[in-house]
């Protein structure tokens, strides 16, 4: 499949000259500048672009991203709870330009894996030696009867931060006291496993103060969920019986929605909501499917050491869209994968061995403004699969004094400042 092998690259660089590595200045005209194109400027793509430049400034990196501004999904539940302004989650791409990344605001509509180039909606063509695709998620709209992109303007998903977040916030503030908020949770695997449950807490935080007779009902096809014990205890502590979770075993799987009647048909019962937040089942972002990078699961299989696609050579897929062993689909995971991928790309383009990878994930959830919980893991590659290191990682303790939960809430916000500065400065 590959036309641009390591051997060819070394030849292109002028034989022995390539063996000298990066730090040695190469006379002009001898070394061909390697080109990397990154598709998608979120938690994965922005990091891959920056770190490739950081590790080897000889590589030309072009980041192609549809939106001029990035709005973070992590911490966007705080916008729903009224604790945060969406402006604090919004970032521009100027910082990446400072690292010498060429930023193009356009949408990639086609990838020609054989000819090594991508095509954009704006009519641009970009050739690459290595391509990094970080497309995020798309929804399986068809999975819930009566739901679709247009209905999402009435029953928001708010699972891509931005206008959808603001729409859901507006609906929650307009809710009639006594009416309920329904959250339709997705099946595994999906972006941000603790997200729907943090969202329930944040909405309940708002309702407690402003709509004391209203409740949050989570309809879930799953029988268990991320940080379940910590969430359940935290919900009870702050919101009493204001949050109700109906798991798959209790008929929580939603079959269809009726936006006119504002009802949700679950397996056993029909639920009525004043606000209905539908988080649909998910798959890799559209370009991954168009380019043939996804398999029948809807996600992209990759070599978990380098994130190179198993379906097309010289194309790497990172972030929510890829299948990354035991790593969850989270912002931190995408950041960590972006770095492993950047190292692998730089190594490949310089004819160096790819070092043994190491990955981290940390996910904070805010149950109340001063009450945070977390899950963390360090991962290694074992028999080609990403697995957590035994004896490390895990959840916040089930029992902990107030100051520990407060500290974790502070850390959640500091984490956000650091991970976004890692992306955009």
């Amino acid at each position: 499949m590959s036309t641009f092998t390591r051997r060819r690259f070394i030849l292109a660089m002028g034989g022995a000259g390539a063996a000298f590595g990066l730090s040695r200045p190469v006379p002009a005209g001898v070394k061909k500048k390697a080109r990397v194109v990154v598709v998608g400027g979120g938690y994965g793509g922005a990091i891959a672009a920056k770190y490739i430049r950081k590790l080897d400034p000889h590589i030309e990196v072009t980041l192609i991203e549809k939106n001029r501004q990035f709005v973070s999904c992590p911490l966007s539940n705080e916008v729903l709870g009224g604790e945060r302004d969406i402006a604090s989650l919004t970032f521009g791409y100027e910082g990446l330009k400072g690292h010498g990344v060429k930023v193009v605001h356009d949408e990639v509509v086609g990838i020609d894996a054989d000819k090594h180039r991508v095509r954009t909606r704006g009519g641009g063509t970009y050739a690459y030696d290595r391509l990094v695709v970080s497309p995020g998620i798309d929804f399986r709209w068809e999975a819930i009867g009566g739901y679709g992109p247009e209905v999402a303007e009435r029953l928001p998903h708010a699972w891509k931060a931005g206008p959808q977040t603001l729409l859901l916030r507006k609906q929650i503030t307009a809710l009639r006291d006594g009416d309920n908020v329904l959250i339709v949770a997705p099946p595994n695997p999906f972006r941000c496993p603790p997200g729907p449950y943090e969202r329930a807490a944040q909405i309940a935080h708002y309702l407690k103060a402003h709509k004391p007779r209203s409740k949050v009902i989570i309809l879930d096809p799953k029988d268990k969920f991320s940080k379940q014990g910590l969430f359940t205890a935290g919900w009870k502590k702050f919101y009493g019986d204001r949050i109700q979770w109906i798991g798959g075993f209790a008929g929580g799987k939603v079959e269809s929605v009726d936006p006119k009647k504002m009802t949700v048909q679950a397996e056993v019962e029909t639920f009525k909501g004043g606000v209905i937040n539908v988080i649909p089942p998910q798959k890799a972002g559209p370009i991954a499917h168009k380019a043939g990078l996804a398999d029948e699961s809807g996600w992209c299989p990759v070599d978990q050491k380098t994130f190179e696609s198993l379906r097309h050579a010289d194309i790497h897929v990172i972030g929510d869209a890829c299948i990354a062993g035991k790593m969850p689909k989270s912002g931190y995971a995408a950041n960590s994968q972006g770095k492993v991928c950047a190292v692998a790309v730089v190594a490949a383009l310089n004819g160096e061995p790819v070092p043994e990878p190491s990955y981290i994930n940390t996910c904070y959830s805010l149950i109340a403004p001063s009450y945070g919980i977390s899950v963390a893991a360090v991962y290694r590659l074992q028999d080609g699969r990403i697995v957590p290191v035994k004896g490390a990682g895990g959840l916040s303790p089930a029992e902990a004094p107030e100051h520990v939960r407060r500290m974790e809430a502070m850390n959640a916000r500091s984490w956000f400042r650091n991970i976004t500065s890692d992306m955009f400065t």
Binding site: E356, W415, N418
Partner: protein, 193 residues
């Protein structure tokens, strides 16, 4: 003969430099994920997360070992530290020790800084030299660290179950300081870029 000799020198050089690059990538792949919480190159952008870029190697190793075996209690660092071997911690220490120390960007209260300065001179200056800018194996860099982080750590040093183990003199002196004093000290050290 001459050509062959210079070729072999060139090859040896190339291998050595290639090796240095490979080593750099090995360090990067291990240490760069820390930036998710501690900022690019360990320069923290967040108030409660410490800057770790520019810390002395020996100090970094000592702290990570304490986190790992539970001698130093933490919310999350222990859970992560347990994922690394001694050799990996040493490599991370090497990586971060070569990064420049970049001070915090918080806004400070000059009154508190002045109060902290007096307290520092009375109680702390014997060990925490150069306004807390000096660091070594058992002495953390305080000058220019995030004030919120310093304050929380100082408060924790005073707790009964002491999450951060302290030498005897430090414990005795901490006993003489109120929470307000600790806040002033944190502001003072933060001011010492």
């Amino acid at each position: 003969m001459k050509t062959r000799l210079s070729l072999s020198i060139a090859l040896a050089l190339g291998l050595a430099m290639g090796g240095a690059q490979a080593d750099r990538l090995r360090m990067e792949v291990l240490a760069a994920p820390c930036a998710g919480c501690h900022g690019t190159d360990g320069a923290s952008a967040g108030t409660s997360m410490p800057t770790i870029g520019g810390l002395p190697k020996e100090y970094f190793i000592g702290v990570m070992q304490k986190f790992r075996d539970g001698r130093r209690v933490s919310t999350i660092m222990g859970r992560i530290a347990r994922g690394y071997s001694d050799e990996e911690i040493a490599r991370m220490a090497e990586y971060f020790s070569t990064k420049p120390w970049k001070p915090h960007k918080a806004k400070l209260d000059p009154k508190l800084v002045a109060k902290g300065k007096a307290l520092h001179e009375k109680y702390c200056a014997n060990c925490h030299l150069a306004g807390g800018r000096y660091a070594e194996a058992t002495l953390p860099r305080l000058g220019g660290q995030w004030p919120d982080y310093l304050h929380t750590q100082l408060v924790e040093c005073k707790l009964e179950d002491r999450p951060v183990p302290q030498p005897n003199l430090m414990e005795l002196r901490l006993g003489k300081l109120s929470d307000e004093d600790l806040e002033a000290l944190a502001e003072f050290y933060a001011s010492q870029h």
